[in-house]
């Protein structure tokens, strides 16, 4: 499986994501700087990491979504390549229009940094196929702007099409319908606020994040 992690100025989970991908797939991803306009050939997976790219200036993910590399990421997504956005990566994907909706300030205004319970709503995606549908997993969140917002029509469409992949089992940040992660219509772009890459070894306190990378490895070779 050939993968890349995009590095924006202010990304701070890029290395965690790279370590997780290498540990589980056996191949280190290529780290791609945001000013690059061309992605390496033959990528199976493009991962957008967590962090505070551009210091969250203007809106979280707003500046990064207009970075030079994002035209290539959007084109790759259009070709059906897998794109995973974690936390700030999810914010970038919504700002880039690759996923619907927006991520606003947490309803309680606090920065939330703790493990949360998630329900796997759709286990029939290339990202979630190694979780049991309806199961509860524990994955850490660490964000200030994770409050998912979209109009009712969009929310109904996401719900009806099974595009809500992960839902908070508790009200964490005010997200509409407790949405923690969604997928695009074509099923190759997933964004989620929780950090699966932070729970891949028992030493980290749990391994509930592994299944996402294992599923991608199985699906993408």
């Amino acid at each position: 499986m050939k993968s890349a992690v995009i590095v924006f100025p202010g990304s701070n989970c890029d290395r965690d994501l790279a370590v997780a991908i290498e540990a589980i797939t056996g191949t280190a991803p290529v780290m791609v700087w945001h000013r690059d306009t061309v992605l390496p050939d033959g990528l199976d997976l493009i991962a957008l990491p967590g962090g505070f790219s551009y210091g969250d200036y203007l809106r979280s993910g707003a500046m990064s979504a207009r970075s030079p590399v994002m035209a290539a990421v959007t084109a790759a997504a259009g070709e059906g390549r897998a794109v995973l956005g974690v936390c700030n990566g999810f914010q970038v994907l919504t700002e880039a229009g690759l996923l619907p909706g927006a991520l606003m300030r947490n309803a309680g205004l606090d920065f939330i940094c703790r493990d949360v319970s998630l329900t796997v709503e759709n286990a029939a995606t290339m990202f979630s196929a190694h979780y049991a549908a309806g199961s509860t997993i524990r994955i850490p969140v660490a964000h200030h702007d994770g409050n998912y917002v979209a109009d009712t029509e969009t929310l109904d469409r996401l719900e009806g099409d099974g595009r809500i992949v992960f839902r908070y089992a508790e009200n964490v940040n005010g997200s509409a319908r407790n949405i923690a992660g969604i997928i695009n219509d074509a099923g190759n772009v997933l964004g989620l606020m929780p950090h699966p890459e932070r729970l891949i070894e028992a030493e980290q306190g749990g391994t509930d994040g592994r299944a996402m990378f294992e599923a991608l490895h199985a699906a993408l070779g």
Partner: protein, 76 residues
């Protein structure tokens, strides 16, 4: 030339920061503040003759997220 771009949350979009401001004003003893909405004001220094269409495009492509925000342009 200068343009002022005012960005506000769309009606109906919850504004937790605005609500905190409203509560803080109440805490200071200002009675009757029934709402507060927080937005942004961006001052642009532009080449003379920049078209209204270009400023619109700036708003749509970067300055506002039209999923959640409205914008208003004032050319000075």
């Amino acid at each position: 030339m200068k343009a002022l771009v005012t960005i506000t949350l769309k009606p109906g979009v919850l504004d937790p920061q605005g609500r905190a401001i409203q509560n803080a004003l109440g805490g200071l003893g200002f009675a009757g503040v029934s709402g507060a909405r927080q937005g942004k004001l961006i001052e642009l220094d532009l080449a003379d003759g920049t078209s209204a269409a270009d400023i619109e495009a700036m708003c749509r492509q970067l300055l506002a997220n039209t999923v959640i925000e409205n914008y208003r342009i004032e050319i000075l």
